[in-house]
Symmetry: C2
Subunit: 420 residues, 2 copies
């Protein structure tokens, strides 16, 4: 029989006892930030559980990792701490365990209705890296910008291409995104365009949250890389295509991306995702030995993007994709990132890049969906080439288990006008 919690969890909830994703929240505005775990429509306050002495395993017994305003300390402790915490929390929340179930005053201190709390960035992000690991996305972008002959650069099949992103402008789901201003491509001999971006886009991504890091100069073996990954979040890597197109030669994306990146509040652990592991796509050519894994795995995570156009009451699904389409795996990304000796630190974020699937309806951004504005999307009566002020983007992600989901909740953000 499936594991069950004494807390009632709807069958379509993203947060049954099989999931237990980690976040950071304030019970009320002005309260102190603390780690929590999602269970059904509630948040379990891990600082309250720690203060009650209920983390009594050998690794966590004397740790203050849950009395912190971020998860970084816990992340740095690695898999033994994560396994112990998961076992403790799963037991505490289970149907036939009386410790929390039958202790009214503790329940009152430790369980908060999710719709009453304020979710915060769960991690202090030292560095944020964004990969480019979907072959379909690489192919579509290449075709749009360089034509259908050799759309994918020669290096792409040999290494997981990435760039350093901006950590300071990563925001939590629900934060408004201010339309960026900047320079766009000049036409003919005219000077470059300057003003609010005319080609504002979303990018459907996920991101790995780093657990224990590595020392500078000490690469991580690809077969040990999973031990450095705590879990995954949904990510929207908002992009201003006109700014990006003009600035990115020769040093890559900069202001076209750095005005805002949204992540979902709940980090779903690799332990919770384990039942949804699947084979990664076959790689041809075979990658260099430092990228060759004993077992190359992805996860079967259904992803959806909805647009709620300004002024409309309802949102329309514009993309249905899946994490499993990624060509380069998370562990290959991490091994590549460190092969030169670069050090990762707990809380670092590794974005996957836009996750496009093979079909047109699985394209992960408007650039691809509208083919750079050439084929506007029809949304319940209105049309979109790129995003307008007031448009909201809602990303969801979910794994379908046998009678339960392991879900990511949502990652949303609304476009507000550029400053005058």
């Amino acid at each position: 029989m499936a594991l069950k919690s004494f807390i009632q969890v709807h069958s379509d909830s993203h947060f049954p006892i099989q999931n237990l994703p980690y976040g950071v929240f304030k019970p009320q505005p002005g309260g102190e930030a603390r780690p929590g775990v999602a269970i059904g429509d509630f948040v379990l306050d891990l600082s309250a559980i720690a203060n009650a002495g209920l983390f009594d395993g050998p690794v966590l017994k004397n740790s203050d990792c849950f009395v912190q305003p971020s998860l970084n300390k816990f992340l740095g402790m690695g898999r033994p701490a994560w396994k112990e915490a998961r076992a403790t929390i799963q037991k505490l929340l289970s149907f036939d365990e009386p410790t929390l179930r039958d202790n009214g005053s503790l329940r009152e201190k430790a369980l908060f209705p999710m719709n009453k709390v304020q979710m915060l960035l769960p991690i202090v992000i030292g560095d944020y890296t964004d990969f480019f690991s979907s072959m379909h996305h690489a192919k579509n972008c290449g075709t749009i910008f360089r034509g259908p002959e050799n759309p994918i650069p020669a290096n792409w099949f040999h290494l997981p291409i990435a760039y350093h992103g901006r950590a300071s402008s990563i925001v939590i789901s629900g934060t408004d995104i201010i339309r960026p201003r900047g320079q766009g491509h000049p036409t003919g001999n005219s000077p470059p365009y300057f003003g609010p971006s005319l080609k504002l886009d979303f990018e459907l991504e996920m991101a790995a949250v780093i657990g224990p890091g590595n020392e500078l100069g000490k690469p991580v073996d690809v077969n040990e890389a999973a031990d450095h990954i705590f879990g995954l979040v949904l990510m929207n890597d908002w992009s201003a295509r006109d700014i990006q197109a003009w600035e990115y030669v020769p040093l890559g994306p900069f202001l076209g991306k750095s005005f805002g990146t949204t992540i979902s509040p709940w980090i779903v652990t690799l332990d919770a995702l384990e039942p949804f592991a699947c084979d990664a796509p076959k790689q041809e050519p075979i990658p260099l030995p430092y990228l060759t894994e004993k077992k190359s795995r992805n996860y079967d995570i259904s992803l959806e993007v909805e647009i709620k156009p300004t002024g409309q009451e309802h949102s329309s699904v514009v993309t249905r994709s899946n994490f499993k389409h990624l060509y380069w795996t998370l562990t290959q990304q991490l091994a590549h990132h460190t092969i030169n000796g670069c050090n990762l630190r707990p809380g670092d974020l590794l974005g996957t890049g836009t996750i496009s699937g093979p079909e047109p309806e699985s394209h992960g951004c408007l650039l691809e969906l509208t083919w750079n504005g050439q084929r506007p999307l029809s949304l319940n009566g209105s049309t979109r080439k790129f995003l307008e002020d007031g448009d909201e983007i809602i990303i969801t992600g979910c794994c379908k288990g046998n009678g339960y989901n392991v879900g990511f909740g949502t990652c949303s953000g609304k476009i507000v006008p550029a400053p005058l």
Copy 2:
């Protein structure tokens, strides 16, 4: 008569009372990290001065900004705090001021011989950005990689191009640099090279240290940008040219840079640099209004790079350049960085990019100096196309005043072999 300290300062010292650069140090291994100011061959311990109640101005009187393991808090307080601190320290150290001069026990607590202390990274760096602001460097690189026709990309004269760098691998002067391993360009139909970089290079740069930041979505006006810059350091942006050349299309430099970046320990303030301000180069075409400054200024800072080849006792100067050669000013860089709403935070680092001058002997990296290895350098009997294990690079920077220097000390690092 010039300002003078009661501490004896050699006339060729980088650190007279006119300079007073800030760093963070430990008086002995195992001691606590604390802010200090360089004066001649000594370090003044600011935590000792603060604990003695000698920061008695209105801004700093009740602040704990000097009882911190980094300068970030002080940086975030902005120009009023910086001006007050400079005035207080300059008075305390001056020739005819008895407070510190005649207090033996305080002198013992607060002054340490510089050669006895351990210098640390002075700031916690949230984000590190690297610009590409030397026209000579852009032209040389373009000529080497794309030929002499239109070597500079069309966007270059319209905006200060930059990319996000890696913050985690920034190290303090004196830290060994481990030769990175990685993939290099395949030749013909062969698979890509993999192994220790064969084209390891230095890059002569300087970097601005950000003081008060800006809110996400609120750009900084170019004419107010100087108030967000605390000071400058020397920087060596080590680069693996073979890794960089293979990986950088289309998302820019990544592992070719992220294995290590060295900065000098002393942050020289804009206040100390003020006497060395000079006109910036004329810009043609005139930049967009958001980049147009009332007064466009550089600083006259002489820069030198020495190589001490492995096994040799002496180093050879290979580059003589100057900060004043930069086409885009620091304030333009900062205004551009924030025009899309991107937020800066105290302690962020903005690298200038390689500072090459117009003459061949002023080229700021081996890529240019040896023209991508085609013209090896002769160094006291040995030759170099790129760096070998055991080679040490020493960067110095200095402004020549009337009877005194305002200098940056050195920024050095030695190459050690790649892991097996």
